[in-house]
Symmetry: C2
Subunit: 442 residues, 2 copies
């Protein structure tokens, strides 16, 4: 018997190919991942629910499926953030209120991926309702003394999560256009902000899953990604950059270095300072929407289980810290007026490039870090993807965000696949690749 590569060191796409070719069974894939879990999770604490018996049964069921009835994701190992309903695992939303909650519901996204053959592997930790900054016990896989970022701490630590957790853990995190994927069965913190996304070790893995979830542009992107030498990028920032703590040294380094590499590859690169309207930090537009909607979204938990609700959420519901409805509506309208503006700006480039976070993951796991850079893009409903490639003074990863107009998701991922090549080139294969799980998150 020739020794084989443990599948947890592969991307999801590579694993699927081996399963398709009969070189690997889903049971073997499951065992590889369970072994990795045993080795690492006592330190990382990524997984909230991982029932080995259930995983083995699911793997056996998939292996027993005749070849002609297998879906395109047959054998893909899928982690699900514990803010999505999953019909065969407890769903607790990171909250004591829902401890041991045995629903029988699959979120729409989980149902789709499961039907197409994904092995629904386990539930990952989340900050309470994916909303507070108080983290679960999860640590950064690069250094357990640092946060993996939030709110998707579990997904972040195991592979990564959207933008902030993705940059903190050095992986790809993709947040599609708001509404492109049904949020059905997701626990809402904010109905106009919550966006379902995907995290993985490669852009190809993300493309695989987001296509399955129906993320499609009006015009399909070219089969062969456009070469960087024909691409135009704009590095975008706001006046916020002048504020203390917004830009750490390693972000400046990544900014300059990433740019040099794009220019070297022949790309045209502009720099844009967005008008003051886009200063979400001073305007607090994102915060006002989040707290204003949170006031309504957590009323059920407040009504039934007030003592177990995080004080921040309690304050929102009781209107101590949430804005007036008038302020909330003004924030809605302001953000809405900026959406066509940013679409127009982004439409002139192959992608906008922005900071994913002030720098590498901060020390300590008490707080999941600062969302001042990524909140704006979420509120603007544009698709964005974190592309890793850089490092900070503590050897922790630093990524940057690529952004496209609404509903140009496929094109964005295609561009990101090219950008990733030049940003990640110096360290290909180098970092402690976390695992090959693809994650559904928010």
């Amino acid at each position: 018997m020739t020794p084989r590569i443990a599948s947890n060191f592969l991307t999801g796409s590579a694993t699927l190919q081996l399963v398709r070719d009969g070189q690997l069974t889903v049971a073997q894939v499951a065992e590889d991942h369970l072994r990795r879990y045993d080795e690492r999770d006592a330190t990382i604490h990524a997984w909230k629910v991982l029932d080995k018996e259930r995983v083995r049964q699911e793997a056996a069921r998939l292996d027993a499926t005749p070849a002609d009835q297998r879906g395109p994701l047959h054998g893909l190992v899928l982690g699900v953030k514990d803010v999505f309903y999953t019909r065969d695992m407890p769903t607790e939303f990171g909250s004591l209120i829902y401890e041991g909650n045995e629903d029988r519901v699959d979120a729409a996204s989980v149902a789709i991926l499961r039907h197409l053959g994904a092995l629904v592997y386990g539930k990952t930790h989340t900050a309470e309702f994916a909303t507070t900054k108080v983290g679960p016990p999860t640590t950064n896989p690069f250094n357990p003394n640092h946060t993996p970022g939030g709110s998707s701490s579990g997904s972040a630590a195991a592979v990564g999560s959207i933008i902030r957790p993705a940059t903190f853990t050095g992986i790809f995190g993709f947040k599609p256009t708001w509404g492109a994927v049904s949020p059905q069965g997701l626990k809402f913190g904010s109905i106009s902000l919550d966006t379902l996304g995907v995290f993985g070790r490669s852009i190809e893995d993300i493309q695989l899953v987001s296509q399955a979830l129906g993320v499609r542009d009006d015009v399909p992107p070219p089969l062969r990604p456009k070469p960087l030498s024909e691409c135009r990028f704009a590095y975008v920032r706001t006046d916020q950059w002048e504020q203390e703590g917004t830009v750490l040294e390693e972000l400046r380094y990544a900014w300059a270095s990433s740019r040099r590499r794009l220019v070297r590859a022949g790309a045209h690169v502009d720099e844009i300072i967005l008008p003051p309207d886009f200063d979400f930090a001073s305007g607090q537009y994102h915060t006002k929407v989040m707290a204003g909607e949170g006031r309504s979204m957590f009323l059920a938990e407040y009504t039934t289980s007030k003592p177990q609700l995080h004080p921040m959420l309690l304050d929102w519901v009781e209107r101590r810290t949430s804005p007036s409805r008038k302020e909330q509506v003004a924030a809605y309208d302001h953000i809405a007026s900026l959406r066509p503006v940013i679409d127009d700006i982004a439409g002139r480039y192959d992608a906008l490039i922005a900071a994913s976070a002030p720098g590498e993951a901060p020390f300590g796991i008490e707080s999941t870090g600062d969302n001042r850079h990524c909140g704006m893009w979420t509120a603007l409903h544009v698709p964005c993807v974190n592309v890793p490639g850089f490092f900070g003074p503590n050897g922790l990863p630093v990524g940057l965000t690529l952004i496209a107009p609404r509903y140009e998701d496929e094109r964005l991922l295609s561009v990101a696949s090219q950008v990733a090549k030049v940003w990640m080139e110096p360290r290909l294969g180098q970092p402690p690749a976390p695992d090959g799980v693809v994650h559904l998150s928010t």
Copy 2:
């Protein structure tokens, strides 16, 4: 023993008062409603799920609750449209795909009302996913040959539902500001349009439930509603009124008659023709958002259970009839730009007044009727309430819609309570009062 009035002939608020005073048990309330169900539902077909044993057990549980542990809605009979998860009843969304679906989840709104003492009585019929126009078997309680309106046909027929079904069945239907109540646990057809609402026999019932659901203005409305003699109203319409079938004779009658009554009560009344931007019929803004979002919202059902999906939804998912994403985004931005405009116009009046439907309920139950009048207000996210009071040539009810700026819901209901008095005066107590159930719907 003195004979008592059957509680199904009372409003919910009146029933609660009698229960609070110890003059009525919840068990008696339940029996009154079950008797009404036996008498009527073979004709009306309002109820999808009504398990008498479960209702009796719930009533007994409520009666056994010590007085000091009873909530403010103790004994309120609550109907829930079958697009909300209910943990103790099947949830089928009007779809074959979910037949017999036994989840263990309460929608956030159901959880709140249940916790506050409501008797969760049964599930009402809905059009498939509350989205298609193909109705369930439900008939109009005024005349079983006519539709009760949709999509909340069940709620509509039993008491009423939002705007269209409310006007077709002669009751109050309240659609609060979008986002004021958490849609958690509601099956989404359209994430930016779906709005949870309440239907009842009186404005007071609606106030009771919407307050429990956390619908609050920044400034509480006066304890005593403002007299009509101090109120200013504007009757609003668009160019759409020139189109065939948009305005039937009975709507013209209601329009003129309602106006005369307000003027007679001393109100100031203006007439406004909204600018062409508001012509949602020609612009198809509402339709584009609904079909565009529907393309994503029904992908899970399409992926897992395509043959059982309504052809209209199939066409949306397969992009035969849904707009391009570019058109969808343009519709979003256009509607968003109108929201502050309509807030500004509505802010100059105590309420805007608009048509709820072209006229009385059309003949036949195959289609749940025309939503051309009410779709716009839903898309604009403003609160609106149907106030009944008028009748068409077939003796079926005709109501009108009152509208306020976003998040002035309480003020709107307060004004509506005064308007209802003069519109309904000539027929107080006259119509075949359907039943005293308060309904959660969309």
